[in-house]
């Protein structure tokens, strides 16, 4: 019998005998079920909104939601606006807590929708090009999609398999969104549970997006030696025609890269990207480690500055993290903008069905400011040709970019120092002082501000003298900008199974002190260098540092004393002291994926549809912490919340407080720091770490010891605890100038104490904490609140315990 797989098929039925017709999806589903019948399934395959509610309530009991509302009223419906201040109830009965929990959930599912909407677009595009049966290949791994498998029980093998999983994701987001409606959920705690559900779903959506593009677009596949790409505003050769792409979805850009390659334009046109599209452009066709065709200009914070520089001759935008005023700003400098995705269209005419010549005519003459183009093949030819033409035209017209030196001085002189710009500035930057210095010919203040300025432009609206302050900053900083040249490791994709096999044991026992994941956007409190400082410090201490998205970019902007970026200095392997860039925003799924794989590969846990048990394992045994130092977006909220449900703590920079909800535990509530020992169901005391699942830190210096503490887990063996405690104490002393107040609470036995300081610390324990010490044997006789027992199996879940 011949077998037909999916796809179109037609035949004439005449004179046939014994014909059996079966429809593909039915056959496919049955065959698949037969294939997977042997696969062990956990209790929550494709969990609905309430399926993991018990787990959520379990963690929320210790990690309490903390609300810091931006606004104390609610204006969701026509009853309002309702004054909810002091936690009053509004007309519908919801109180401030409930409303804020709802808003947070909305933030999370907005982020999840952005990622999965991106995934849907990409998947649709790739299935159109490669077919549903195109195999998934992400490198050396048996677990192609750990998040997908953990949540849905599905082990996807083809693009088509992802399609049905994505439908599940979309259904969940719709169900969650429905709960936002007035008159639905009323309890804050269940909005929290829904938010956690949305965060978990987000990681599934991200994973689908990234494994689809890795499998189809010849991205590096779990590659430890992915090439390096150029990064920085200074790396663009502005003498060449320049094409800049902004956004997150590489689908539209691949045709451009192919066209440029075919026509030999790679050396003739500068192709640069801003935000995650840039990262994914560098991943395109670099699976064989050839150098990327595109350059990374930078993050969202560089968008306005790049446009205002006048360097781009054409701008392409796709979706997510694109300034809403790109068209307006670009038009001022005669830069045509092409929109390529239905999420961002800027009111432009759809030219998908028009001839390239017609579009070129309209854009080069300035008849139209831009075009909407859904035909990517056409875009592939249009964009490079338009870039070449616009470059000539813009040169001839002498498009005025930034102010001249004389104009700069005049602008500075016109400042009346009313400080309105500083009040408007999200970082309260000292602009007025810098204007005074500039008037006197001193550029240095603005040069310092340049890196701290996120180029949002709020200052310009505040200025009563209409000074284009962003331009002033940019013009004053030309020297610094020209030196902004760095290297970023091209996104490697997932962590391979062999890497996990080797490193898993070290992570669970603590001898590798932890995973620090630097993720998220570029809304930093004090400039981009913070990221370098964090990574440099933690890598020196042999933590595994994993990065993605905008953080991966900014990290590459700095060089150490040896003249090398951290990417050049540290191996891109998942091991102690390794620095790995997984890729773009959707590649964050590989970070949670790695943690899931530790449970699967090292601990031999079934992960299919077994979310609760794996999250419990992570929370109690895998020392990992996420840092979203410049998180600004709803996507960052959903990524972080997905980590929360999986038991990974996340620290945000101070701007992260504007998400208005944290999950913070109280170390002084002793009854909250007990878990079960799965061997016999007895209760065991655990240390108060991590003492948050989502929180903020004020400065990088404050965060350093927090990071070390956040990696402490009940499963640490003595060597592991000693290493982690050493870092905790040292980092606190280095950055805060003190011993941490609570260090002794992490000591179970003398062998947990840092070797070099053991005697000194024993003395402190005896003197300040009243512990009993046997000085002859240098042993602790009494004092610690918990026992050291490396074979204990800490769990929050009674159901996993063997009865005593």
């Amino acid at each position: 019998m011949s077998e037909l797989t999916t796809g179109k098929f037609s035949m004439a039925i005449s004179d046939l005998e014994n014909v059996q017709l079966t429809i593909n999806n039915i056959v496919g589903a049955i065959e698949k079920e037969a294939d997977e019948i042997d696969v062990e399934m956990g209790p929550t395959v494709k969990p609905g909104v309430s399926s993991l509610r018990d787990w959520d309530h379990n963690i929320l009991d210790r990690y309490n939601p903390v609300y810091t509302p931006m606004c104390d009223q609610c204006c969701y419906c026509t009853f309002g606006p309702c004054d909810l201040s002091g936690n009053k109830e509004g007309a519908c009965g919801i109180n401030l807590e409930g409303h804020n929990a709802r808003e947070f959930m909305l933030r999370v599912i907005t982020g999840a929708a952005a990622h999965s909407g991106h995934g849907r677009h990409l998947l649709h595009h790739l299935i159109g090009l490669y077919g549903k049966d195109h195999p998934l290949d992400v490198g050396a791994t048996n677990i192609i999609a750990p998040n997908v498998q953990l949540v849905t029980g599905v082990s996807p093998k083809t693009l088509g398999d992802l399609d049905s999983v994505l439908s599940y994701v979309e259904e969940q987001i719709t169900q969650l969104l429905a709960a936002v409606h007035v008159g639905q959920e009323g309890a804050a705690i269940d909005f929290e549970s829904k938010a956690l559900h949305g965060g978990m779903i987000d990681h599934v959506g991200m994973e689908i997006s990234d494994i689809a593009q890795i499998s189809c677009l010849d991205f590096p596949k779990s590659d430890e030696e992915a090439p390096l790409a150029d990064i920085g505003m200074g790396c663009l050769d502005s003498s060449k025609p320049t094409l800049i792409v902004i956004g997150h979805n590489v689908a539209a850009v691949t045709d451009i890269i192919d066209y440029m390659e075919d026509k030999g334009l790679n050396d003739k046109i500068e192709l640069g990207g801003l935000c995650c599209t840039a990262l994914d452009m560098t991943r395109y066709k670099t699976g064989d480690r050839t150098l990327p065709r595109a350059k990374v200009v930078g993050t969202l914070a560089k968008e306005l500055k790049t446009i205002r520089s006048g360097i781009p001759d054409v701008i392409i935008v796709d979706e997510q993290c694109i300034r809403a005023d790109v068209l307006k700003e670009a038009s001022k400098l005669m830069i045509p903008v092409i929109t390529t995705n239905d999420k961002v269209m800027y009111g432009l005419k759809d030219r998908s069905n028009d001839s390239i010549e017609d579009i070129l005519e309209d854009l080069t003459t300035g008849k139209e400011k831009g075009a909407l183009m859904f035909d990517y093949e056409k875009l592939g030819e249009l964009a490079p040709r338009l870039t070449m033409m616009m470059s000539e035209i813009r040169k001839q017209k002498g498009i005025k970019r930034l102010p001249t030196d004389e104009e700069l001085k005049e602008l500075a002189d016109s400042c009346v120092h009313c400080l309105k710009c500083e009040v408007a500035c999200p970082n309260s930057l000292p602009i007025s002082e810098a204007m005074t210095a500039l008037s006197e010919g001193d550029l240095s203040n603005f040069e310092l501000l340049h890196d701290k300025c996120i180029a949002c432009g709020r200052c310009e609206y505040a200025c009563p003298k209409d000074i284009d302050i962003v331009n002033v900053i940019e013009k004053s900083s030309q020297r610094v900008i020209s030196e902004e040249v760095g290297k970023v490791r091209v996104g490697r994709g997932p962590i391979s199974d062999p890497e996990i096999r080797e490193e898993g044991v070290n992570l669970v026992l603590g001898t590798t002190p932890g995973i620090v994941a630097l993720v998220g956007c570029s809304n930093y409190p004090d400039g981009t260098k913070d990221l370098f400082t964090i990574a440099d410090e933690m890598l020196r201490r042999s933590y595994i540092v994993v990065v993605s998205g905008c953080s991966a970019m900014d990290l590459g902007m700095y060089k150490g004393e040896d003249g090398m970026t951290l990417y050049e200095k540290y191996p891109s392997r998942f091991k102690s002291g390794g620095l790995l860039n997984t890729g773009s925003c959707v590649s964050n799924a590989h970070i949670t994926g790695a943690v899931i794989k530790v449970a699967s590969i090292f601990a031999q846990k079934n992960i299919s549809g077994n979310y609760e048990e794996i999250a419990d394992y992570t929370l109690n045994r895998v020392g990992a912490v996420g840092v979203a130092w410049g998180a600004y977006s709803q996507k960052a909220a959903s990524i972080g919340t997905g980590c929360s449900r999986l038991g990974i703590p996340v620290i945000l920079g101070p701007h992260g407080s504007k998400y208005r909800r944290a999950l913070i535990a109280k170390p002084y509530e002793e009854e909250k720091w007990k878990v079960y020992d799965a061997r016999n169901g007895s209760e065991m005391q655990i240390p108060a770490a991590p003492d948050y699942l989502l929180t903020t830190a004020e400065t990088v210096e404050e965060m350093m010891p927090m990071l070390a503490k956040s990696c402490i887990r009940p499963s640490d063996n003595n060597m592991g605890r000693m290493i982690k405690l050493t870092h905790y104490i040292e980092l606190s002393q280095k950055y805060l100038g003190i011993m941490p107040e609570d260090w002794h609470k992490f000591v179970r036995t003398e062998t947990d104490l840092p070797l070099a300081k053991r005697e000194k610390l024993l003395k402190i324990l005896e003197k300040e904490h009243g512990w009993e010490i046997d000085w002859k044997r240098k042993k602790i006789l009494s004092g610690p609140a918990m026992k050291s027992d490396v074979s204990a199996q800490p769990t929050n879940l009674k159901r996993l315990c063997k009865e005593a």
């Binding site: 104390d72 201040s85 009040v423 944290a662 903020t696 004020e698």
Partner: protein, 171 residues
């Protein structure tokens, strides 16, 4: 004449309840009067020697226990004040918990004074206290802090230092 403005309540995009603007002498007296005050000092004091000096002076003169947030602790050690490091977001959480016994174990606080913070950060953190606690918060920053109970306005660094001096006189 009819009074049409007597009961005006202004709702803005930030909500219904905003801090009262306060002068330094009044703030100083209020701090002195508090039964269980806590001085929350942020890391921005390290950026200005004058600010650091006055932070220490305030703590000393009013005998205030200090919660050193961020990495402000590195400027406050060995200064003869009672300062302890704590994360400000966690601190605000504990301050909303009636069962918390404070940094010294002697019980919850009734008044907090904040200085040396990022404007947007402390404002956000204080919104939790404003909404979910009865604690009075006095912001003596150089920016208006909307979610405090009372706050200085937006002032220049020089005026700020002057204001702090005046506040110290009134402790």
């Amino acid at each position: 004449m009819v009074d049409v403005i007597k009961n005006t309540q202004i709702h803005c995009t930030y909500g219904c309840k905003s801090s009262k603007a306060v002068q330094p002498d009044v703030a100083g007296k209020m701090i002195s009067k508090a039964k269980r005050p806590l001085f929350i000092v942020g890391s921005q004091i390290l950026k200005d020697e004058e600010l650091l000096k006055r932070s220490i002076e305030i703590a000393k003169k009013a005998d205030l226990p200090v919660a050193a947030t961020g990495h402000s602790m590195s400027g406050l050690v060995d200064q003869g004040i009672n300062a302890k490091y704590i994360n400000v977001h966690a601190l605000a959480t504990y301050l909303c918990d009636p069962n918390w016994t404070g940094l010294d174990g002697n019980g919850q606080y009734d008044t907090i004074v904040v200085l040396g913070h990022f404007k947007y950060y402390i404002d956000q953190v204080l919104s939790g206290l404003k909404s979910f606690s009865k604690i009075k918060s006095i912001a003596i920053e150089r920016e208006y802090i909307q979610n405090a109970t009372m706050s200085f306005g937006n002032i220049t660094p020089a005026v700020h230092i002057e204001a702090l001096d005046e506040l110290i006189e009134n402790l």
